[in-house]
Each structure stands twice: as structure tokens, then as C-alpha cells.
């Protein structure tokens, strides 16, 4: 039972800077020595002003930003592994089975029906075709996306509808850790509540969440803890 007291994600010394080779090699430090833990069944929200490096931290953890220094230890298939030094195949396996990402925008895949887009992560997680479609359908229903839209590709949907497809896709897998990058930015109150319900359900099942929410009301309702990243932001500290 000691496992429950171990974090599912433990970040230490996380540091990131950009070198802009097209602009005379300017160095842009964005994150310095970030450190925090995330436990099963909790939702941690990164706080701090715009430009403090919240998104960069999420992207380093998901692996679409290269980590400059530090470690990102994550529980994957029963063991702790360091994602900062993991090879691409390990990262892809982690994304299939352990860590999901819900971004602000749906990257539309042309011609693929909404229900298939949402079912895909469930199939990648090993569910059967029927189980996957049933799960996708239940999430889309919870998010109030009308069933007549399910067979259509979302490219012509409204911004809010696309965002709900995106959220449904993010929640359709069996990920034990979900990264939320402003997932509710373009949603109305009813649908924001639906997303909260989804998060609460998955937390009760032991999933952990790490997110960014600019809307303060949403942040306070969803967060078990807020980690202020200003402390890890080189630029903000200099300005202060």
C-alpha cells in the first residue's frame, strides 16, 4: 500500500530555455528549477501570470518540448521512469497507456467522423471496438454533443463543439494522468460543469490531473492544489 503514498508524477530541477537561432541566437530562459509532485486522484493546477512558463512545463512533461535539465519521473506500467531522458518509443508508449493531453484546440483530422476520433484513444488503450464506441458515446452524451453530429467530421463544427470533441477524445483512453491545457476556454457554463463532472469521475477512479485554467472560478472549483510557477520563472523574478 506504500504505492499510494508515492506520486504518479514527480518533477525536479526542471529547466527550459529557447535558443532562437534565427534571431542572432538569443537565449530565452522560460523555466528554472521547477519542482512539484502529483498524486493519484488529485488535480493540481499550475498558477502564475501569463508568460510564467505554465504551458512550457506541461509540454516538457508531455514530451513535445525538449527538457533542458532536470527530471520528470512518472509511474508507467508499474515502475517509475524518467521521461526527460526517455527515448521516443518509451514516450509514445507512455502516451498510449499512461498520459493523455487535452489541448486548447482540436487538431482536425480531415474526413474522420467525430465518433471515430473520440474512439481512437480507447482502442489504443486496448478496448474492443464496441467497448470503445460505447465509452466514446457516453462521454459525448455527457458533454451534450448532439448525436446527429457524431457521424460527421468536426471540421465544420463551432469552436465550442470542436472543443468538446477534443475533450471527449482526451478522456476516452485509460490514462492515469491527464494534462489539461485550458480545456474549458471556449465552453459555456453548462459544458464547463460537464467537464468538471468528468474530472471528478476520473479522480474518483484514481486518475491524476495536471492543468492550466485561466478562468479563476474554474480553477478554484477544479484544483485540489495550486502550484504557483512564478517561483520557477526566470523572467518574472527579474522583473519583481
Amino acid at each position: 500500500m506504500t504505492l499510494l503514498n508515492e506520486p504518479v508524477l514527480s518533477v525536479k530541477g526542471l529547466t527550459k530555455g529557447f535558443t532562437l537561432h534565427l534571431h542572432g541566437g538569443v537565449q530565452l530562459p522560460v523555466v528554472e528549477n521547477a519542482a512539484f509532485d502529483l498524486f493519484a486522484g488529485e488535480c493540481v493546477v499550475l498558477g502564475g501570470p501569463s508568460g510564467a512558463g505554465k504551458s512550457s512545463i506541461l509540454k516538457m512533461i508531455y514530451g513535445n518540448y525538449l527538457t533542458g535539465a532536470g527530471e520528470i519521473r512518472m509511474r508507467h506500467d508499474g515502475a517509475m521512469i524518467d521521461l526527460a531522458s526517455a527515448n521516443t518509443r518509451t514516450i509514445l508508449a507512455v502516451r498510449r497507456r499512461t498520459m493523455g493531453y487535452v489541448s486548447q484546440f482540436l487538431r482536425v483530422i480531415p474526413r474522420v467522423a467525430t465518433l471515430d476520433i473520440v474512439t481512437e484513444p480507447a482502442l489504443a488503450a486496448g478496448l474492443s471496438s464496441e467497448e470503445g464506441r460505447a465509452r466514446a458515446a457516453s462521454i459525448l452524451t455527457l458533454l451534450n454533443l448532439p448525436e446527429r453530429l457524431w457521424s460527421l467530421p468536426p471540421s465544420t463544427f463551432s469552436g465550442g463543439e470542436q472543443q468538446r470533441v477534443n475533450i471527449a477524445r482526451g478522456f476516452a483512453g485509460n490514462h492515469s494522468l491527464l494534462i489539461l491545457d485550458e480545456p474549458t476556454a471556449s465552453l459555456d457554463a453548462v459544458n464547463r460543469n460537464a467537464v468538471l463532472t468528468l474530472i471528478e469521475q476520473r479522480k474518483a477512479q484514481g486518475a491524476a490531473f495536471l492543468g492550466i485554467f485561466h478562468d479563476q472560478e474554474m480553477r478554484e472549483r477544479v484544483a485540489d492544489r495550486i502550484v504557483d510557477v512564478s517561483a520557477f520563472a526566470p523572467c518574472v523574478r527579474e522583473a519583481a
Binding site: 537561432h21 534565427l22 514530451g63 483530422i109
Partner: protein
């Protein structure tokens, strides 16, 4: 660790003192999609042709894990073995479909030929497989007896894909498969390729200069310039956070649609 499907070791090729490929090494696993990107003249097509056994490197070798599990050096294969590999376990999708099809043979014949090459003789079965594959690539089976010369560019490309996949290969090489097609036709073809690759668990080496195509289809990316691999890694990492000056230039030069 499982043995990689394909291993490239130190591949080098020069044309008249110019490096088309310089010491290129990587591995490819089963079911993995690798995109090779770079501008014209970066050596990406040369690399693809060496990997696919269509060109001999000056140095280095390509090793492939055959269906029986034995890893073989391509250079050591006899001509008959090499040809069998190319028309069963491998596919090659050319940018210009007329290079990958027999233009004066019917569509059904183009697909059936790959099956006959591996010993299928039953005309009825071959015709059924051909019809099934035409349907899978969204070509009306009414067009089965027509020659590809009567097909549009997008249809020819889909027919070429069907011809390659009918033998259930494990590895497919693709050279700018959507190049030269109208944008609407490209989207349909990309979606089709994406679906087939996932369903069949294909490994793919894809050469493209289109970063959006690489993002949509590939797991990993290899950026080439003047015969050298400049940067390699997870596709969205290389495109979202490029490290090398050349990759930053390449990514920032793309017009956002």
C-alpha cells in the same frame, strides 16, 4: 527489447564528390512510421532508395528482419530473394503513380499481378481480392477492368497503394505520396493512408517535404540537410521545439493555413 524491423548503419553515398548521404544510422520498429523531411537535394530520396534496396550505398548497410525472424543484410540477398522481398513483405509508393503501376494493364490486373507473383493462381480468388482492395481504397469496382490511364491522379495514387498492400507487407516506403495532387485530393489520400497504416500495423518510411504530412502520419522524424541528419526525434517534439538552426528555419518557413 525486440529486434528492430530495419536497421540502417553508417549509410553513405556520394555523387561526384558531393555527399548525398553521410553516415546515416537509425532503427525502425514494426508498426513505426518514420518521416524523412528536408528540402530538395537534401538526400532524402537517395536515402529512401538505399533503404529500399533500389540503390547501393558506397558504405554502410541495411539489415532487415525477415518474416522468419532472421536478420539479413540486404547486400547479401540473392537477386531472387531480393525481388521476393520487394513484392511480398515490402511496398514502394512512388510520387508519380505511373512509376509504380503498369499503365496498360487493367486496375484489377495491377493488383492481381502482386498476388500472382507470390504464387496465387486461382483467377476467381485473385479477382475477389482485387475487388476488395479497390473498395478499401475507395475505387468503384465498376472501374476494375479499366486501365489506370483513364484514372484521375488521386485514383491512380490509391490504386498504387492497393497494389502495394494486397500482399500484406510489413514495411512500405513512400516517396512524397501526396505530392503533385490537389489539396482536396491530398486530404482524402492522407486520411486513407493514415487509416490503413493503423489498421494493418504497417511500418512506413515516408519521404516528404511537407511538414503537415509528417505531423499527421509519422511517429518519428528525421531532418536532413546536404546529406546529413540534422535533427531527429519524436515528430511533435521536433516540430514544436526544433533545436537545430536549420530545423528552426524549416519550421518557421511554413505558412500556417
Amino acid at each position: 527489447m525486440t529486434v528492430p524491423l530495419l536497421t540502417a548503419g553508417g549509410l553513405t553515398k556520394r555523387y561526384g564528390g558531393i555527399n548525398a548521404c553521410a553516415h546515416i544510422s537509425f532503427t525502425l520498429d514494426e508498426g513505426e512510421v518514420l518521416a524523412i523531411v528536408g528540402e530538395s537535394g537534401s538526400g532524402k530520396s537517395t536515402l529512401l532508395n538505399i533503404l529500399a534496396g533500389r540503390m547501393t550505398p558506397d558504405a554502410g548497410d541495411v539489415r532487415y528482419r525477415m518474416r522468419d525472424g532472421v536478420v539479413r543484410n540486404l547486400a547479401d540477398l540473392g537477386e531472387a530473394e531480393r525481388r521476393l522481398l520487394m513484392r511480398t513483405d515490402w511496398g514502394f509508393v512512388h510520387q508519380d503513380a505511373s512509376h509504380g503501376l503498369r499503365m496498360n494493364v487493367s486496375a484489377g490486373g495491377n493488383i492481381g499481378e502482386r498476388l500472382m507473383a507470390i504464387g496465387d493462381r486461382n483467377y476467381g480468388d485473385i479477382r475477389l481480392s482485387a475487388a476488395d482492395w479497390l473498395t478499401r481504397v475507395e475505387i468503384d469496382t465498376d472501374r476494375m477492368d479499366h486501365k489506370p490511364t483513364t484514372y484521375s491522379g488521386g485514383m491512380r495514387q490509391r490504386l498504387q497503394i492497393a497494389r502495394n498492400l494486397v500482399t500484406s507487407p510489413r514495411l512500405v516506403f513512400m516517396d512524397e505520396p501526396t505530392g503533385g495532387l490537389d489539396v482536396s485530393v491530398q486530404a482524402r489520400l492522407l486520411d486513407l493512408i493514415r487509416g490503413l497504416v493503423a489498421d494493418m500495423g504497417l511500418a512506413v518510411v515516408l519521404v516528404t517535404h511537407d511538414l503537415a504530412v509528417a505531423r499527421l502520419l509519422s511517429h518519428r522524424i528525421l531532418v536532413m540537410k546536404q546529406g546529413h541528419v540534422i535533427e531527429t526525434g519524436l515528430t511533435d517534439r521536433v516540430l514544436d521545439d526544433p533545436q537545430a538552426p536549420y530545423t528552426q528555419l524549416l519550421v518557421s518557413s511554413v505558412l500556417a493555413a
